[in-house]
């Protein structure tokens, strides 16, 4: 195959995925339609994830005014925000609740897009950008967890970084050094300390949000260029214009959801769900307290790690990651019915591990 042919194939691939001729107001705004059918709820999921991101950015910027990223002052500054800053507690709780909602809806968005077969040609790059966005969202959750610098924050981060390091033993040759280098880069010193906090802070408030903004831009532009996917096997009997009809409905859902977040932030402080000794400031000289767990959205990985050999979990996770990236090609010919069953199985697994992980763990260990 000549280089001209390869170049031509690549150019054709990108031309189809980035139809620049549609980069105009008429195509992206005036003519964009949304199919109306029984799976239409799936079209709201991406917008909801975006809305929670907006809450995250807003509340995060407010928290930046008072938060001090030093090991001596981080916990004190969080305590100050909670107890002395006007509406500080509500803002911090909104940040915490909204982060959980954002991850939840990002997962629902991914699973529903999979079930609706929204990844097929020409939407492969939209899908891959979405998967990367999900990973960045998880990374934001992981890095943000350390910032309050309390017992659970530091100890859970240590466990997470150790798990990352341990993957090196299962990689061949030079690759085996990579996880250790990554851990050293993020940790920055012999143990989790000031340098780690500074780097996690930089990752959480600058690097990851920038990466997320770039990928989100690509994702949203592609969604506008290609329009909403069909979602079901038959052509939808009805379609409605995205602007203004669907957009106004989207805004109504956002408003209702905002009330839910506000209600929860005001009435149920997020810290309620943790044992109080884990909320104490981190003591470098103290013993590791019991019950150290990651946030609920990592339970799907945490409980298998507790129950199964590390290599098995690593193999499973790596397979899932590869499958996620190759989904547009692996499931190109699968029927929507098959995809729905797979999506249901994945949802059942995630729900079981998140809600009943502890009981399953106790049952198996007994």
């Amino acid at each position: 195959m000549s280089s001209a042919t390869i170049f031509g194939a690549v150019a054709k691939f990108f031309n189809e995925r980035f139809p620049v001729e549609k980069l105009n107001f008429q195509s992206m705004v005036q003519q964009k339609t949304v199919p109306v059918h029984r799976m239409s709820w799936g079209y709201y999921m991406g917008g909801l994830t975006l809305f929670f991101l907006m809450i995250q950015v807003g509340t995060g910027l407010l928290l930046l005014f008072y938060y001090e990223p030093t090991v001596n002052d981080a916990n004190l500054s969080v305590e100050y925000i909670m107890n002395h800053v006007s509406v500080g507690a509500v803002v911090r709780n909104m940040h915490a609740w909204s982060s959980s909602f954002m991850i939840f809806f990002a997962l629902v968005h991914l699973i529903s897009a999979f079930a609706m077969k929204a990844f097929t040609k020409p939407r492969e790059i939209t899908w891959i950008a979405g998967v990367l966005l999900l990973f960045i969202t998880f990374a934001l959750g992981f890095t943000g967890y350390l910032l309050p610098w309390n017992q659970i924050a530091v100890n859970a981060t240590k466990v997470g970084l150790q798990a990352l390091d341990a993957t090196g033993a299962y990689l061949p040759g030079v690759l085996s050094r990579v996880p250790h280098i990554v851990r050293e880069t993020f940790q920055g010193e012999a143990t989790v300390g000031q340098v780690t906090l500074t780097r996690f802070y930089a990752l959480h408030v600058v690097i990851l949000p920038l990466a997320l903004a770039v990928l989100l831009f690509v994702h949203l532009v592609l969604v506008q260029l290609h329009g909403m996917s069909q979602g079901i096997d038959r052509e939808a009997k009805k379609r409605e214009l995205f602007f203004p009809f669907f957009f106004v409905k989207d805004l109504s859902v956002w408003a209702a959801v905002f009330f839910v977040v506000f209600f929860l932030s005001l009435c149920v402080p997020f810290d309620c769900f943790l044992p109080f000794p884990l909320l104490d400031p981190y003591n470098a000289l103290g013993a590791t307290p019991p019950d150290i767990k990651p946030e609920w959205y990592f339970y799907f990985l945490y409980y298998p790690l507790e129950l199964l050999p590390f290599w098995a979990v690593l193999l499973g996770t790596s397979t899932v990651v590869v499958v996620l990236f190759l989904t547009p090609w692996l499931f190109r010919k699968s029927s929507r019915r098959t995809l729905r069953y797979l999506a249901l199985a994945a949802s059942a697994y995630l729900a079981a591990m998140t809600l009943f992980g502890q009981q399953i763990y106790e049952l198996v260990k007994r």
Partner: protein
């Protein structure tokens, strides 16, 4: 006469018991009562540690902050005063106890407190449900039983927090609900407006099309009379 003698004998016996308890409390390591931690963890299913009642997470024994080994002379005096507070209602300011720990001794007295050591669940009952040191709306006794922090107003049983805060912030919630309700209503009206506008545009379009077709047919008739 018998009654007076009985009362004297009872008072003497009670004082004797109190003296023995007081003596025991001085010679035994102060405040090492893991029974409470065990009970609360079993009762609530939550992990707790000594910092529920003590200044130090690891309890009163040791050389760390808030532990007996690190106390100054003045603090030792305060500790001994607290140890001597056998009756309820005495102000105590023990340097090894936090606000909740001191409140327990003040409320019950040391004698009554020590009687609950063998049955820690009784402490929750003895504390009653009037005190709420952190002001989160959940009584301290309930926080003790639930294994939540009685000194942190953002920590408590989630359901109770929800119930109490809904009542506490009912005006805020109502205002938020009304404003968001109005916003949703406004969006609904905007949506209806767009639907009407679209229908009008389509109708106009149809009318124009009809007129154009009529004009066309009329023209054809004129051409071919």
């Amino acid at each position: 006469m018998w009654l007076v003698l009985k009362m004297i004998a009872f008072a003497a016996a009670r004082s004797g018991v109190l003296c023995v308890i007081a003596w025991l409390s001085f010679v035994t390591p102060a405040g090492s009562y893991p029974q409470y931690q065990t009970f609360v963890e079993k009762h609530s299913g939550r992990t707790v540690n000594c910092s529920m009642c003590h200044v130090n997470d690891n309890g009163p024994v040791g050389d760390g902050g808030g532990q007996i080994g690190s106390l100054s002379a003045a603090e030792m005096t305060r500790l001994n005063q607290a140890r001597a507070a056998m009756q309820p209602g005495q102000n105590v300011d023990s340097p090894i106890l936090n606000k909740f720990g001191n409140q327990i001794i003040k409320k019950l007295g040391r004698a009554n407190f020590l009687q609950t050591v063998s049955d820690p669940g009784q402490l929750g009952i003895a504390l009653g449900d009037r005190d709420d040191l952190d002001g989160d709306g959940i009584p301290d006794s309930r926080e003790f039983l639930d294994g939540t922090d009685p000194l942190n107003k953002f920590h408590g049983d989630p359901w109770l927090m929800l119930k109490n805060n809904m009542l506490r912030y009912k005006v805020h919630l109502l205002l938020a609900a009304v404003s968001i309700g109005l916003a949703v209503y406004g969006l609904k009206e905007i949506y209806s407006g767009f639907v009407l506008a679209k229908a009008e545009v389509e109708r106009d379009g149809l009318n124009e099309k009809d007129q154009a077709e009529n004009a066309c047919q009329h023209g054809k008739k004129e051409e071919n009379p």
